[in-house]
């Protein structure tokens, strides 16, 4: 009964094509935003921030980025970890070279640098397609990680080979460094997530997004009807890498504070982000969030249940986690290849028509 468009009159084209055409959705969205901005920062504690909320927000940005490339433009990429590393190291070099620069600008700039690198590695996509491209993006993954390990300039010749984030402030609150409070870190990430999701949503439903989807659905046909594949593919790589770079720089500056490139940005992370968008839903903004939430929450939950509650050894827990993740991926693909977001779409459709079946 609640989920109806009846009585919700649209008086302009803009209103008609808004993201949340249904009243309930719209108010739900505002309510979530209000809770996220006005309630959560006051009740958050360190455990929740560092184990659940901040990783969720950051991985959502990465998942959004990969979803733009893979879900919207159809270019399968396994180089996400490498691009995140670019973001992190760009942020580090910027932070240490320009100590006075605002942290928000640093994060966005490192995203922009990653976008440049992404375009560079996206160039072969004009010749190489499908699986061949997926393997080619592995070149980015391994080469970039190796590069940051190898050349000492990237980590300012520090003895450990690690990079660590100095303290930076935003409006007088510390957001990076060891002493930053949980709520300020959380708010900083949240602002970026809302901004990024807004950008992603509006890009994907506009002209550029439509050209991406045309390329995804059939690139030759898209070319024939006048979509420029060079432009479409490279913008997809650029935008996607921008998102992924921002996520990488946030992981380094806000979340972890110190990073060893092989551990934090290895091939496993590329797969992790890929799993997020598979489970959440390819080609869906909401799906990126669902997937990120799922894969961030599930290990925490499993660990709490198996190690904390049942008292099993942690190696069994980590093996079972692999089994469960693998199983869930296969299950999602069998039941609904378009992910949880598609289930949500179907549910919404059913709700609107309820109690009638059609």
């Amino acid at each position: 009964m609640l989920y109806r468009e009846a009585g919700d009159f649209k008086k302009s084209y803009a209103e008609d094509s808004q993201t949340f055409p249904l009243k309930l959705d719209r108010y739900g969205y505002y309510a979530i935003l209000a809770i996220a901005f006005l309630v959560v920062p006051f009740v958050i504690n360190d455990y929740w921030a560092s184990a659940v909320l901040i990783p969720f927000l950051i991985w959502s940005i990465a998942a959004l980025g990969l979803n733009i490339l893979t879900g919207y433009c159809g270019q399968l990429s396994l180089g996400t970890g490498g691009f995140m590393a670019v973001g992190a190291y760009a942020a580090y070099k910027l932070m240490t070279s320009f100590p006075d620069l605002n942290i928000m600008i640093i994060v966005l700039l490192s995203g922009a640098i990653t976008a440049g690198v992404g375009v560079l590695f996206g160039l072969p996509s004009l010749r190489i397609k499908g699986f061949y491209l997926a393997v080619a993006t592995l070149a980015a993954q391994f080469f970039l990680v190796w590069l940051f390990n190898k050349f000492e300039w990237f980590y300012n010749y520090s003895a450990s080979g690690q990079i660590s984030a100095p303290t930076r402030e935003m409006f007088g609150f510390e957001v990076t460094g060891a002493t930053a409070s949980a709520s300020s870190k959380y708010l900083f990430c949240l602002v970026l997530v809302v901004l990024m999701a807004w950008i992603a949503r509006n890009l994907t439903r506009g002209r550029i997004g439509r050209s991406w989807m045309a390329i995804r659905d059939m690139d030759i046909a898209a070319e024939i009807i006048g979509v420029n594949p060079l432009k479409a593919k490279l913008t997809a790589f650029a935008v996607s890498s921008f998102f992924v770079g921002v996520a990488g720089s946030l992981i380094f500056t806000v979340y972890l504070g110190a990073v060893d490139v092989g551990d934090t940005f290895g091939i496993q992370k590329s797969f992790l982000v890929l799993f997020m968008i598979i489970i959440g839903g390819l080609g869906s903004i909401l799906g990126s969030f669902i997937g990120a939430a799922f894969l961030v929450l599930m290990p925490v939950l499993l660990k709490n249940i198996m190690v904390g509650f049942l008292g099993w050894p942690s190696d069994i827990a980590s093996h079972l986690e692999l089994v469960i993740i693998g199983f869930l991926i296969m299950l999602t693909l069998i039941l609904e290849p378009h992910g949880v977001a598609q289930l949500w779409r179907v549910t919404k459709q059913k709700l609107r028509l309820w109690p009638f079946p059609h």
Partner: protein
């Protein structure tokens, strides 16, 4: 300089041998890709799983011992017997065939007619699943393969090359064995697919699923056969790699080494897998040798190391830009 040249040749030969080891994994890929169009990321994990199973069966480990102990508070770990190698190998092959059947029954059957990218991701899921199951079943510690495989330096080559050049090449017997096995596998697979009835059916399926179905070839049994064969190849690869570096979870990463091999050789060519492997293996060893040598350092002002991590990919990437279907792959024809 003469010394350097000899070292370089030695590196190249060793690279060739390592490349053949990569090809062992790539072969399984090609088989499955040809027969079902599935890009099977799980091939490396299958190798790990096969090797783990072999060691586990041979040494009489209790499957899932860890989990059982955690669940029931018992302390089981071994049955207390040691099986002869042949029996263990046969049992492992049985397990891999069972695995193939299960994969077909519970995974592939439901994914018929999906896009290739979905199938690929399903095999990534399968890889994670298998890795977890393998670790749960047999434990995650590093194990040794207990089979009579020749290992260590080959004395004949060492003394021969010493007589000829004044410098003995270090070539591992294990690598030589692996090369012989790989060549044998390629020849028998080629003969099998050219001359046997099942082989013809395989090629028919690879050509066109629907046409094959309409002349009475059962797709599902073909897939079981192909996955079983790939499981067997995985066992061979797992044993060879296990003998080389111990059976441990990093073994599953050889998939990542086999991918550039496939790209170079082409996804659909069995000889391509071998030749691609040799090019990659030799290329990365020679490149590493050159860029880490002192005269490269003198000329360029810096040296590089650990380039093996990425060289294969970059080589394959550059290569693909000029020839998108790989060396021996079928030409990619696209229509609207």
């Amino acid at each position: 300089m003469y010394d350097q040249l000899l070292y370089g040749i030695e590196a190249a030969i060793n690279g060739l041998m390592t490349g053949v080891m990569y090809s062992l994994v790539a072969l399984g890929f090609v088989l499955i890709f040809k027969a079902s169009g599935i890009f099977n990321y799980a091939q490396g994990v299958m190798a790990l799983f096969a090797a783990l199973t072999l060691v586990g069966i041979q040494s009489g480990q209790v499957p899932f011992a860890h989990l059982i102990n955690a669940l029931f508070g018992t302390k089981v770990h071994h049955f207390g017997w040691t099986l002869p190698a042949v029996a263990a190998i046969l049992l492992t092959i049985g397990v891999m065939i069972l695995f193939a059947w299960l994969v077909e029954r519970y995974l592939l059957k439901h994914l018929v007619n999906q896009e290739p990218i979905i199938l690929f991701m399903a095999t990534i899921g399968l890889a994670y699943f298998m890795e977890g199951v393998g670790d749960l079943m047999w434990g995650a510690e590093i194990k040794k393969i207990d089979l009579p495989i020749p290992q260590g330096i080959n004395e004949t080559i060492d003394s021969l090359t010493y007589d000829w050049f004044g410098y003995g090449f270090y070539i591992d017997n294990l690598d030589i064995t692996a090369s012989i096995i790989a060549i044998f596998l390629v020849i028998s697979l080629t003969i099998f697919s050219q001359y046997s009835t099942t082989g013809r059916a395989l090629r028919a399926v690879a050509d066109d699923h629907q046409a094959a179905l309409s002349v009475g070839i059962s797709l599902r049994s073909i897939w079981v056969i192909v996955w079983g064969l790939a499981g067997f190849i995985a066992l061979v690869a797992g044993v060879m790699w296990g003998a080389k570096s111990g059976v441990q979870s990093s073994l599953s990463l050889i998939t990542l080494k086999a991918l550039p091999v496939l790209m170079l050789g082409g996804f659909t060519s069995i000889p391509g897998a071998i030749i691609g492997g040799m090019i990659i293996g030799m290329g990365e060893k020679v490149f590493e040798f050159v860029v880490s040598s002192s005269w490269f350092g003198d000329a360029m002002g810096f040296t590089m190391n650990a380039t093996e991590n990425w060289f294969a990919y970059v080589l394959a990437l550059i290569f693909l830009v000029f020839r998108p279907q790989g060396l021996f792959g079928e030409k990619i024809i696209e229509r609207v």
